[in-house]
Point group: C2
Chain length 752, copies 2
Amino acid sequence: MRVEHASWTSLLVKASLCISGILLATSVSAENITGFDKASTQTQRQLEAQFDQSINPAEQDVWLRKFSQKPHHVGSAAGKVIAEEVADLMKGWGYDTEIEKYEILLPTPKERLLQLVSPNQYTASLSEVSLAEDASTAEQTELLPPYNAFSTDGDVEGELVFINYGRPEDHALLERYGVSLKGKIAIAKYGKSWRGIKPKLAAEKGAIGTIIYSDPADDGYVVGDTYPEGPYKHETGVQRGSVMDMPTYPGDVLTPGVGATKNAKRLKRKNASTITKIPVLPISYKDAQPLLAAMGGATVPREWAGGLPITYHLGPGPAKVRLKLAFNWDMVTAYNVIARWEGSTYPNEWVIRGNHHDGWNHGAADPLSGMVALLAEAKAIAQLAKMGSPPARTIIYGVWDAEEPGLIGSTEWAEDNATDLKKHAVAYLNTDGNSRGFLSMGGSHTLEKFFNQVAADVDDPQTNVSLKKRLKARLAINGNKRQQAETRERSDVRLYPLGSGSDYTPFLQHLGIASANLAFSGEGNGGSYHTLYDTYEHFTRWRDPGLAYGEALARVAGRATLRLANAPQLPFEFVAFADNVALYIQELENLIEKMREETRVQNVQLDEGIFELALDPTKSLKAPTRQAEVPHLNFAPLKNSLARLQVTAEKYNRTIGNNTLSAKDQMKVNQMLYLTERKLTRPQGLTGRSWYKHHIYAPGFYTGYGVKTIPGVREAIEIRKFDEAGKQVTIAAEVLDSLTQQIQAILKLTAT
Amino acid sequence: MRVEHASWTSLLVKASLCISGILLATSVSAENITGFDKASTQTQRQLEAQFDQSINPAEQDVWLRKFSQKPHHVGSAAGKVIAEEVADLMKGWGYDTEIEKYEILLPTPKERLLQLVSPNQYTASLSEVSLAEDASTAEQTELLPPYNAFSTDGDVEGELVFINYGRPEDHALLERYGVSLKGKIAIAKYGKSWRGIKPKLAAEKGAIGTIIYSDPADDGYVVGDTYPEGPYKHETGVQRGSVMDMPTYPGDVLTPGVGATKNAKRLKRKNASTITKIPVLPISYKDAQPLLAAMGGATVPREWAGGLPITYHLGPGPAKVRLKLAFNWDMVTAYNVIARWEGSTYPNEWVIRGNHHDGWNHGAADPLSGMVALLAEAKAIAQLAKMGSPPARTIIYGVWDAEEPGLIGSTEWAEDNATDLKKHAVAYLNTDGNSRGFLSMGGSHTLEKFFNQVAADVDDPQTNVSLKKRLKARLAINGNKRQQAETRERSDVRLYPLGSGSDYTPFLQHLGIASANLAFSGEGNGGSYHTLYDTYEHFTRWRDPGLAYGEALARVAGRATLRLANAPQLPFEFVAFADNVALYIQELENLIEKMREETRVQNVQLDEGIFELALDPTKSLKAPTRQAEVPHLNFAPLKNSLARLQVTAEKYNRTIGNNTLSAKDQMKVNQMLYLTERKLTRPQGLTGRSWYKHHIYAPGFYTGYGVKTIPGVREAIEIRKFDEAGKQVTIAAEVLDSLTQQIQAILKLTAT
């Protein structure tokens, strides 16, 4: 149902009377909020102070406890119950709430077998033990055992080859060792690259199966005490996770590009290109040790050695394993909770705020720690609305299902509602897991100034300085050289560019909706991710005791939502965007320059035969393969486009607030502003993966979650397709020009 | 006995007749050997070809097998036998051979006890197991069990504190964690700094005892397969070694500065400042694991974690240990074998060539692999002499005893013969352990050009290119940035500057005799160093199969010895010396600049309180302590002196070979040339450690073996005594001026 309400501007004046005491107690900036004038800044700040008062960590704790009682993956009865309970809460607070359903393909394990068959025998347990210290771990109703979703079925037997993290550079080094994956089973460490990349690349190299394990050097006893003595990975803990080829397209594997509604046209499973080509299974380090210990061949390079008390070898063999996997390829229903509060002034401008609700297990950290913060915000915003301060724009909460197997709930909804979203969506703001630590802000750089202001207006619960100040302190002490320098040279903290890994992907990269992802992180580390041990007990002891950062997240994300909903002029800003693009272009120039120099030097060294002299002739590591020389690339088109954008962006900033626009023109300006992000997309998408439309941000085709900025150019350079890179420079330049033209059009309107 | 012989010049002509075929088979440089003219170059090359023919790796293998049959430390019956057998060999080949004896203090273990007393109990085995695969390990006659020589006696009990490698920077970090060593027992990893530094610094910080263990991440299973499957450290292997405070003075602890002859004046033991202040014991990683596993306190920084399958903690405690050590403080006899071949032309100019014979155990690698190469050279040189090509200068072989406990045999002999050595010694050339790999050349930079020529004239046994070429290939591929660049920009490879760790120290740093240290290394790694497993079996399987590099070492060191002995004009060269000093001065300037900038930034950060914001408030790591600002230092005196030296050195190079000197003047020039290194010393020595006289090279007072170039200045900067650093700049400038004046005096002579 929709609630009737007056416009937000009039009611905020009333609110200001009763909360002035709170305002005095908080140190807020004297400057205007971006997109607000002096008067509306004041009322907005009063609204935010009132909002803060409604955020109660104890309530988040109750929800966290309740929703994390049982495993609740998509397709489970418990998952459906959570969706219904979330919907009931939202409805109760006054949101127009629906559960929107999609029918999706979800493989679950039917058979899992991993055996070392020679030179000795070992059968992997493939199970995680319950702990007396953590009652939740005994609650295993509907528990999915450790597996990688969207592994293909298979029954293979072969010698093991250790591939480190399974990244392109790891395969390059393996080749120098003369170790082939053809007909072998790869064993890879979790980490450094997204898990789905590991079997994808291994299969390309000829492997017939892939095992992925969590090495104790990465999140086990090497890093710190293990659960339950500490937060790090229990010896039997296994990271579940999807290995769907999300860098090609995420979401339901059978319905790329369209919503997986009941009657949607579906691919046949055998034609779904995002299912792996070879069987993949995740295991614990306890199960990995006997396999690794049985391996021979060359000793791994020192940097590849992990934390098990053995010598790591590359193989192949003599360890031979059998890997047998069979899945139930069932259609299940994903339950997205969609809760709307219609905007009082601009009902057709939508601010979308999302977090998923499905977990691989109990999912206390992932996703519930973020979800309970979202609930707290939603409740507080509804209270404000009911007290007479409804949002000016429509706020839509999306509580997604089926994120874990492949961002499925959000992707299907985004695809299903693509036309409306492209027209109406102002921005998408995502959260997911949360923990104690520092504010981590990623997103569209047109919102960089905006989020910096938000971060300056919320205090860190541990140090009582603003989140921005604490984050800058961290960058000053622990950042890389550039980041350290920028803490002095640059007022704002850069947003990190978004790759993939959570539900912002369909909004940002498929639809071109300006997006952000917010979380706290850095002080609640551990090894519970996607294991049986991601429980309420683990979370509240090790990750965010008292949910102090749940409260902070609600304050940050809620404030951002409210500002986006209420700003008289939308807070997009292009100088910071251009500044980040300038950095990315510089990175591209440095990248190709470095490749050229390294290739040149290496080819000279190969000509001179000095690798043969420098390498130990009794070892198998050989000289690298010769690479074609790297040409110079013409970056001028891109830099000229950037220069035009910079000038235009500066001009836009100078005009803000100088003009009084009619309500109609202001609305037109706002619409043109939120459509700026669409200009960064092209309908034909990226080469080889047309689902991805954005030309500034994409997940790496060979890194997975890791972002590739200006991906067309960057990835062409990385795979040494320099002609293609040259073409992509022109395309990227056109994309920037398209944004520049949009800003120029806005300037024309505001100049009238 | 001394052999009668004609002068080398006449006889070499004869030699050339019979070995011309060999010359054709080898690719030798067309340029003159430094110090030789065209004619004498030719005869010298012929002599060297003949020399090479006499080097037989099979013979070295026989000696290695024989001398490594039993443990043979100083004071053992087996050690005395080796000295006698070496003396017999030398005598048999025609050398004037003496066993020169010194009476030295040697502590050996009487009682060793290490117990974990709480929270659980464990008694360390403190022993190494014999292996069926290695018969030598069962031969334990006179075996010294694992201990650190010159640990003081003690019986202490206290909580453990983990100090990583026990370096100054490790203690600085421990202080930031608020962990005090007062009244605690430190447990340190072997490696990164010399072992004696670990208890020295720990004691300064208030520790009452120190345990040192070899972590498997450094030379155990993490690095490669362990013995006997591979070369790396067996789980019970313990690195013995001296912890005498050698950076203060090496040699017999009771007779600093004088030879430990029977009637020498001796300190009382309690006044010997180089005995540790607290008890120290080395243990295996097998014994270390229960101790480390019982520790609590903060988790160590990630970089401190080792390779045991546990979480490492800093402590203090709760693990509490009792460490009880008592030693037999016995006087033993060190047997140096001194074998001389009097020079035919310049008998009063001495070329000294040394390698020790005592080992901690069987000592196959350390020191016998170097010693058998020395024997091969000595035999070949004697053969040449007996065939009519005796050395022009006197060659003295020193086969030292008691190197392991503290360079005692060589130091006592050098101190005992100081007056003669200062007058007559041309150079000291050292070897010690050897293995397969790359030529490692350290030494006085006045010999850099000389050793580069030697390395260019000997082929690598594996790749059949010159040793220099292979070394440059390694630097090009695996060197640091400067080294990589220099492989193209600089014709010669830099000698590494000598710190300490073998018998060159008394010659170079106490007496100012130009010295060098030669070895092959880099492809024969392992974990046998100073353990029971340094056996013939280990060495010939893993470190230098077939002793191919024993042969190469004999060729290199023998060639260097012959050239130094025969060069008409001694091959000292000063442009390379000045070039290296220029590098060191640049390092000093960079060092203080870096300290200044880091201090400045850190003090600003401390003023701003941003450490408190950046650090996790629930963890014990706190902000660093404020440091006084770093002043600018006046390097001009040193740089002006360097400039004068550079001009003079260039001038010297231009004059070489342009003058025909009388035999008498040539002798005078040569004497002045080899006295150049003396000019780099000052009688009063370094501040706080007057035994060390050299002002360009010294072992680090807080790093041990690691060299500190221009040590007066560098160490003053490092410990932030900037006034003292300023004074040391002037002293270093004077030292360089003194060398410049000596070269100018030579120029005056050659200009006549």
